[in-house]
Amino acid sequence: MKATRRLWGIAGLGAVLAALATVLGRAFPLLGTVFLSAWVLSRQYLFSRATTGLVSALSVNQVPARTLVRTDETTTVTLSATVDRPSKLACFIRTGLPAATDGKDGTVELDPGETAAETTVDVRWPVAGRHEFSQAHVTVSDGLFEQTVPVGETTAVTVQPRGPRNVHVGEGGDQALLAYGEHAADHPGSGVEPAELREYLPGDSASRIDWNATARLDSPYVREYEAETDQETLLVVDHRSALAAGPPAETKLAYLREVALALADSAKRLDDPLGMVSVGDEGITSRFEPTTTPSHYNAIRRTLLDLEPTTDAQADPVSDGSVTLGGLSQVSTVQRPMDGARQSLVALEAGDDQFSTTLQPFYDSQQYYRTHLTDQPLLGAVRTTLARRSGQQVSIICTDDSDPRELRETATLAARNGGQVLLLLAPTVLYETGTVRDLEARYERYVAFEELRRELSHLDRVTALEVGPGDRLGAVLAAGGTQRSPAGGGRS
């Protein structure tokens, strides 16, 4: 209970009378102090009775329009107050918004005689997490005393960070059950997983005899084990400017990154050698050769998390040679020889001597390569990387459909190297924002993408899958009608 200035003024009168009694040396003025004290205490009694009655009859609710929002979203919070019977006291009710919100506190006044009041306020949620409301605070006053009381129930709002959600990986709108990394060896070997028991054959080493089985079956038996194999995987992640399409934090790159991280985790769990190349608008920005050390997996993971879409506005590495790329130290090892070649070529073109004439064709070939890398960075990066390797490795290329010609060339080039190719494509149509009326047009564009994906999947040793937000894909497919699903599978 807090005294107002008015009450302090009246209490001051009592003090003045007491001082007057002291100055005059007579007790008579204290009579006024007595009546003032009685007056104050009687009003305090009335206030206490009225306040407890009001608070017990008061019902306050603060209801957020949604209890699950995303960061920086704005929702409404409704504050309502009802009282069973009209009170002689006015009260002022304030919402108990969490601290991590932006917006004006919602307040309602319940004047004497009123039985209900309500207000709605807009609240922005900039911080992710679960935010508990505190109880609404009711301030009651009669002009002499003031009391604030927490009343009502609390509630909570969960704020989710922006980012990929409902990540869909599939083909034609159907979810693909992608079990990366589980690969059968198809032949026995020196592993730890028992495969079978077979009778001993002449020529088998005596150390391979399973003596327990031999004693149990009364003839020599050999236990075979499954061979352990490694599936070398190369992750090619495109983070050029086209991959920046999409709402904030829900870009093509964000979705592809989620899938790439999952693949990297799977490779780590299975102890498969994993390499990674990231490609920006200027070419390769980072490169990791396939190995299996824990620090290597962690470095790939960190690099994936740090990837941001590059911009075309960045300086051309060919023109000035002073560009700073956003990759790791491996970038410099790639760029420096190219820069050196360019500088040497310029020097050779300036000279007319025999030395320059002899070396000119060698530098010309590097000039062709460099131009190609600049025009089609993804193709150039795959070409450069796979040229160093051969064999049964899996190439996983994470990119979008913005340049179908380059995509076809890249897939063909990767498959020609002998390994399996998995194309993870972010359809541009799923990352565009628009109105509901655009959905039918989007469906047509999605059909065009699906045709491209199927065309790529028909390439030898190439699998192409789409990566995107599942809810948007569902909306696009619903707009076109499930009976016209491009997968042709009669989705339900």
Partner: protein, 197 residues
Amino acid sequence: MSTPREQSDSASTRQPDSRLPPVWGEDTQLVPVAGGHTWLSALACLLFVAALSFLAGPVGALAGIVTAGVWYLLGSPYAFAAGTVLAAPTVPSPVTLLTVTLVGTPLLVLVLAPVATTPYPTGFAAVVLVTTGLLAGGIWLLAEALPIWLLAPTVLGMLGVASYAGHRFLLLQLGLVDDGTDVSTGTDPTTMIDNDS
């Protein structure tokens, strides 16, 4: 200093966005403005004028009339102060029990006047009578034993203690008193709820 009417107007035109509750007029919202000048209050003022007239003649009547004017313009608390200050030099000395009774009774009626309009008349009257009786009786008894300079702060101290007790009692009723129990270490949820309430 604003009149009751002005204060009433200011209350009705308060800003809706104001964070602080409005300040009402002459009396508290629990003793409405319209009830600030009741017939009982007016009767108390007339009694006061009559009492001072009886004790001090025309000068006392004049003091009583001034007190009634203060009551009409500023309200009961200021009337108590004005009445006591004006009565002190006008009543005959030494002050007897009859004098105190004649001066005090109208003022007591003035304090009790809202009993006709308040929703809690019994408790209200009890608080007024008990407070007045205890304080007046205390002064009467202690006046012989204590000097005035010690008696005056004693009365103010008693008012402070009583008011603080009322404050704590309200907090207790509203469940806002922290009794020092660490609810996080308790084992019986029922007990914890009871402690809070």
